[in-house]
Point group: C2
Chain length 425, copies 2
């Protein structure tokens, strides 16, 4: 119940007591922090000066959603707690069997439908909004129907629902509103979230620049004999010093970067290994996602050739990224380079799509993959990350985050230049 | 990609690189562990001798699902990664935009539909199963249709989908299979998961006994002046010593247990406060969830009266829990006691449902709430947790986990006896 707002909750990721079903996990109990310096102090302040999301920005997002609703003749958008909810109203709220739903009408302010016993906490977190609460013996979905009536939405008005909402919520809404009125809201949601504002771009730019600077600083301290987990810790420390949060790091040495079946070793770096690091964090909720591959000492010519091919593929994709080009065609530009270099067609050795959109989530629309007809627009942001994987031998991937501009593309932070200059000049 | 199976990944909860979309987070880099003793060493070994889930148990679950499918004239069950997937096949797999789907036909072994570039990791984790992979340019849902044909499911056969699956998965399946064939699979899923086997009961029993023993041990060290977060840390230590994992703790002192708007203080315990602790952990994935309320020193008579009323309400509910009784009637038994004691009708001061099912999730079916006609069956497990909350003054809740037996009910661990003996005799 609402008591939790003022209380102390430890642990709790997927588990919560009945009364705390929607409480956001707090950090684990303080463990002793190492007081030693990290050696990455030069990165401090890297993310300074970037603004968090404010109310004006949120209202602009909702206004864009309303416009898209009107344009597509939809009466309202329903979003359950989750990433899209966070986009429109940054209220941390964990999904549980008790749904929290935002109802945004095509005209007017959004209202929320949530559990009555959480009213205190909801008011505290959502601010002065209209809240339709349901007691435990009432269906949340009949409250959505009531909210729509109060918002003067016609009883024939179609309601778009975030496709990320769970199936039982769709079923409940269909039951309460009538089957025909409930439609998938993907185009409204993606239409908002895919196109970033200048302030969103500033956050994504800085976050990805910070990860690149941190990775470069950490790489300077990588030595043969170091284990994957040890280096991942360094990569994390450097990003924390640079001001990022929610840091994850994938570190792969030598054949571990290819396609290993079943090994769980934490490999130590050896001369002749390729190092592949895929890492990122967040700045005011906006994500970074950077991959670099480089050599420890002298590597086999076949590894160098794969590296050069991946960079060429990335460059080929980059020349395609501009307004009006289909996602599939960008993927194709990279895939063709790799295929024509003799690494096989399709997904043979470049086993995944070229890239994914990025924003509040590391993966979001648009997706750069074959058969995706979606057309790029200014303000879209995405990864450009071709790769070549030779099972049991090596893996190469080079990943930048880019933004579509009015006339072309911007790469956030320096590109890789060569196997000798993987972090740029 | 599959490379991750053998690699080292740090961080990463909701964030992951493109190629690691479905990697399960690893523990954070080792932070210095306190070497001091906890003082709870007497709890070590408490959870010994309890078996983890084995293949025979999993097959029995799938067989039960097949029976329910046949009984309800359904051709197959589709489950996406998540808690229900974990029930049928304990493969940790994080949800991403790329679905992993189990397809269990009414007759025969289940098959899986997953991303091609994850094949190595899927084989490694799922074992020798039939896998229908999709490359990034192919719809996963057409692969489900192909899998169903291969499984000799008639093209008219209706397919039940786990209601917890996300909306876009329902939409994709409707598109690939035809609208009429896709139905909500709640009754099949709940019909399996709600009824616990003896081995599941053994895990739940021991987990909840362990939490009670740990809470009792921690309470012996609670003193005036201690902060809520400090005591939560003790409660967590004791449960870890007892052998539980995934521990969460909610600790509320005095008025913080009621309905505070906006306070984020970490209150220090004072004489005259009620202490409310709601906490739990997991044993081989099975959850505990226990609440105890007790007094620090002498408390006001009105608090004592609320405490006694809550215990009476819990006892009244307990007398109703047996096969054949509706969930709503169990809730009513407790609510009536609280209402007749003058605390208001309905949800006035007992602001939430009486209880929730518990198993692999802390909250799962069945739910003890008004208007729920579901009838109790032997093997169901649930919380029995009435409460009274007086805004700004106090909160009382007493929670046990119980199992429905062939003829009545079993309470896991000792019940609260009185305000002086909140942990039993």
């Amino acid at each position: 119940m609402s008591a939790l707002a003022g209380a102390w909750l430890s642990g709790c990721a997927n588990t919560c007591p009945d009364s705390t079903a929607t409480v956001v996990p707090q950090p684990a109990p303080a463990s002793p922090q190492p007081v030693a310096t990290t050696g990455f102090e030069q990165l401090q302040g890297f993310c300074d000066g970037i603004e968090p999301v404010g109310e004006r920005e949120l209202e602009a997002r909702r206004e864009r959603a309303r416009k898209l609703l009107v344009d597509t003749k939809l009466a309202a958008l329903v979003v359950e707690a989750g990433p899209t909810h966070g986009y429109f109203a940054p209220t941390p709220w964990r999904r549980s069997e008790r749904p929290l739903l935002m109802v945004l009408p095509a005209r007017g302010a959004p209202v929320w439908v949530g559990p009555a016993f959480e009213q205190g906490r909801l008011n505290e977190r959502l601010g002065e909004v209209e809240l339709f609460t349901w007691e435990e013996d009432v269906s949340p979905y009949t409250r959505v129907a009531q909210a729509l009536r109060k918002l003067n939405v016609a009883t024939s008005g179609r309601v778009a629902v975030d496709p990320d909402a769970r199936g039982f919520i769709f079923a409940g809404l269909r039951n309460a509103l009538g089957k025909a009125r409930v439609v998938m809201g993907g185009e409204v949601v993606d239409g908002c979230r895919m196109v970033k504002s200048p302030t969103e771009l500033a956050r994504l730019r800085r976050a990805n620049e910070a990860t690149k600077a941190a990775l470069r600083a950490a790489a300077a301290r990588l030595e043969p004999g170091m284990r994957e987990d040890e280096f991942a810790e360094l990569v994390g420390q450097a990003q924390r010093e640079a001001g990022l949060q929610d840091i994850w790091s994938l570190v792969l040495f030598g054949p571990n970067a290819s396609f290993p079946h079943g090994t769980h070793e934490r490999r130590q770096l050896r001369e002749g290994d390729l190092v592949l690091v895929d890492t990122g964090g967040s700045l005011h909720g906006y994500r970074s996602d950077i991959t670099r591959t480089w050599a420890c000492g002298k590597v086999d010519d076949s590894l160098r050739r794969a590296w050069d091919t991946v960079l060429q593929a990335q460059s080929a994709a980059l020349t395609q990224i501009r307004p009006g080009v289909a996602c599939a065609d960008v993927d194709k530009a990279a895939r063709t380079v790799i295929s024509e270099a003799g690494y096989g067609a399709g997904f043979t050795r470049f086993t995944h799509r070229l890239g994914h959109g990025i924003g509040l989530q590391v993966h979001e629309a648009p997706y750069l993959r074959p058969n995706n007809p979606r057309v790029l627009q200014p303000g879209m942001t995405m990864s450009n990350e071709p790769g070549i994987y030779e099972q049991g031998r090596y893996g190469v991937r080079i990943e930048d985050i880019v933004a579509v501009t009015d006339s072309g593309v911007e790469v956030f932070g320096p590109r890789a230049l060569s196997l000798e200059q993987p972090f740029g000049a």
